[in-house]
């Protein structure tokens, strides 16, 4: 297990940050690195990562599959799988640079690919489901191989290290995205390893998370009924799959999905108007196993924007700000002001109150 024990006690929690340009204008990774770096002391060097949306316009029709391989044998096996199931347009090493503080990276590869037409037709699946099942298959059945991200025109860059060092390692200043999210990790319950860094993803969805999910066991078993396999040794992965299940497969609105994962307390439901009460009670009944118990603040990234959310009793920090073109979210206000000193509006959402940032003209996800 990489990552040695710290010599002195480090007081910290995780850090999250996100920047959306609502007009869809793209900007380099420098600002998100500056923002997350300001919260350096919230993480301990055992995980950092970024999700970037809009970075591959020249391959926007293909799925961008980012991979970690422990060794060349693992790569060879997955290459064989991918070649049989996908038409690969480009397969290449993800460019990195030497950074002192980042050591022992895995083999980091990306593929731009579409499902093989014949295999897809045989499977009878929609494109997204075909890709999602392929991701589950690789993560569960291919030793030493991990899918880092699998959406279109987006990608995740993560590893063991402080986030600012990971950003430098991946040369994020060379990418341009309209939405960036970032995470600095302070692992509590599970080891710090390359695949265990945030964001966790499936298709277009990515999650960065500060907190811990004490309902993980219930959530995991529920997800398994729908074919999801939790293989990353961390609770955050389950959040990603819950949103994929509710938003993509069950076509719930974002607002409804929020009411499932951060359901209003029964005492609050008691006081609701009859119509709202019925809706919320129904969601709690059907999606009881999607309830996320425990402290969290998360940013869910997707191609149309983001959702930022706290647990119902707000046991983790979250600040939001806006200026003319952008919406910012972060664990600390100073992390926003570092890159936007005078926002037009700054506020802190209440526990369970979603903050939905969308590209102009998009009404939902």
């Amino acid at each position: 297990m990489k990552g040695s024990r710290a010599e002195e006690k480090i007081m910290s929690g995780c850090a999250i940050s996100g920047i959306l340009n609502r007009k869809g204008n793209r900007f380099s990774g420098e600002e998100i690195i500056d923002s997350i770096a300001l919260m350096h002391d919230r993480s301990n060097g055992l995980g950092g990562g970024f999700a970037a949306y809009g970075i591959y316009p020249e391959f926007k029709e293909q799925y961008a599959i980012h991979m970690f391989y422990d060794d060349l044998d693992a790569k060879e096996e997955v290459d064989y799988f991918l070649n049989r199931h996908f038409n690969i347009v480009v397969a290449e090493k993800i460019p990195t640079r030497e950074v002192d503080k980042v050591s022992n990276p895995p083999i980091i590869w990306r593929y731009f690919a579409t499902p093989n037409e014949q295999k897809l037709a045989e499977s009878g699946l929609a494109d997204d489901e075909y890709v999602a099942q392929s991701v589950m298959n690789i993560n569960a059945n291919y030793r030493g191989a991990f899918v880092v991200s699998s959406g279109k025109n987006m990608g995740v860059f993560k590893g063991v290290g402080y986030p600012e060092d990971i950003g430098e390692f991946y040369k994020l200043e060379e990418y341009e995205a309209y939405l960036w999210t970032a995470h600095g990790r302070f692992p509590t319950n599970t080891p710090g390893w390359w695949g265990g860094a945030h964001p966790f993803t499936l298709l277009d969805w990515s999650i960065v998370h500060n907190g811990e999910i004490s309902s993980y066991g219930a959530n995991k078993r529920y997800l398994e009924m729908f074919g999801y396999k939790c293989t990353m040794q961390t609770d955050t992965e389950a959040i990603t799959y819950l949103f994929d299940l509710m938003l993509r497969k069950h076509k719930l609105s974002l607002e409804s999905a929020v009411k499932a994962v951060a359901a209003p307390l029964w005492s609050q439901i008691e006081r609701m108007e009859p119509k709202e009460k019925k809706i919320v009670t129904t969601i709690r009944t059907i999606y009881g196993n999607a309830l996320l118990n425990g402290p969290f603040s998360i940013i869910l990234g997707h191609k149309d924007g983001f959702l930022a959310l706290n647990d119902r009793i707000k046991l983790r920090p979250l600040v939001v700000a806006e200026d003319k073109e952008r919406t910012y979210v972060a664990s600390e206000e100073s992390a926003i002001r570092e890159i936007c000193p005078e926002p037009e509006k700054v506020w802190t959402p209440r526990g369970g109150e979603p903050v939905i940032g969308l590209l102009e003209g998009r009404r939902g996800v």
């Binding site: 002391d41 609050q268 707000k314 920090p317 600390e332 206000e333 100073s334 002001r337 570092e338 700054v346």
Partner: protein, 245 residues
């Protein structure tokens, strides 16, 4: 008076410089371009003044015991943790857990505060901590409060904005909370009694608010001229029998 430009200065170096200046007898230090540096003014026992321009980081003024801090900006989480004395004046809003376990001194906030403000606040004889908030507060305001005073004014808030969240004073067994407005029964913990103000309460409130109104340039009479409610514990030992077999 000393001035430190804190632009890009790491918190350890910054706090070291503050302590060195104070040790040399400096009594007023202005910190410019503060952004996110943690632990500013922690454990200070000097009768000194820090003027902070920017957004100070978490755990500001923890264990403070005498110093005066003025923050021209918003604060973050964990301000005045276990503060024992001194004064903090914040010309903006702050995050969660302000005044956690506070046991002396005063905190004035002009804007809003987050969740869990004044939890575990305590008082003993003449050590009665005070927090006054001009705006609104989130859930768990004064949870497990054991002493001191908290005053929540809810000035200049949007009509739809509640002055305070739920679980106010849950587990409260000492101290008093004054709220400028009404609080529903469901918003408070079961250990809390809501009442109106009597003459003594009004006098006490006026005393506490005069300094606050002066500081932020509010008309004291105007602030006082409203319906307040008083939250006090039903019992000094609500859990006295909980573990008695």
């Amino acid at each position: 008076m000393a001035v430190i430009d804190a632009q890009g200065v790491y918190y350890r170096e910054l706090n070291q410089r503050i302590k060195e200046l104070l040790a040399r007898g400096e009594r007023e230090i202005t910190l410019n371009n503060i952004n996110g540096q943690r632990y500013i003014g922690d454990g200070l026992t000097e009768q000194a003044k820090l003027i902070i321009n920017g957004t100070p980081g978490n755990d500001l003024a923890a264990f403070g015991n005498g110093a005066e801090l003025v923050i021209n900006g918003n604060g973050q989480d964990g301000i005045a943790n276990t503060m024992n004395g001194g004064q903090i004046i914040i010309h903006g809003s702050v995050g969660d857990t302000l005044g956690y376990s506070m046991r002396g001194g005063e905190v004035y906030v002009k804007g809003d505060v987050g969740y869990r403000v004044g939890i575990h606040m305590k008082g003993y004889q003449d050590k009665q901590p005070l927090i006054i908030i001009g705006g609104t507060a989130g859930d768990f305001f004064g949870e497990y409060m054991a002493g001191g005073r908290m005053i929540l004014l809810g000035l200049d808030r949007a009509e739809a904005q509640d002055i305070v969240g739920n679980y106010v004073g849950a587990g409260m067994h000492g101290g008093v909370i004054y709220i400028r407005g009404q609080v529903e029964d469901y918003q408070v913990g079961q250990e809390v009694k809501i009442s109106g103000l009597d003459e003594d309460d009004r006098k006490e409130l006026k005393g506490y608010l005069s300094g606050y109104c002066q500081e932020f340039d509010y008309d004291l009479e105007e602030v006082l001229n409203a319906e307040f409610c008083k939250l006090a514990p039903c019992s000094a030992r609500p859990y006295g029998n909980l573990y008695a077999y």
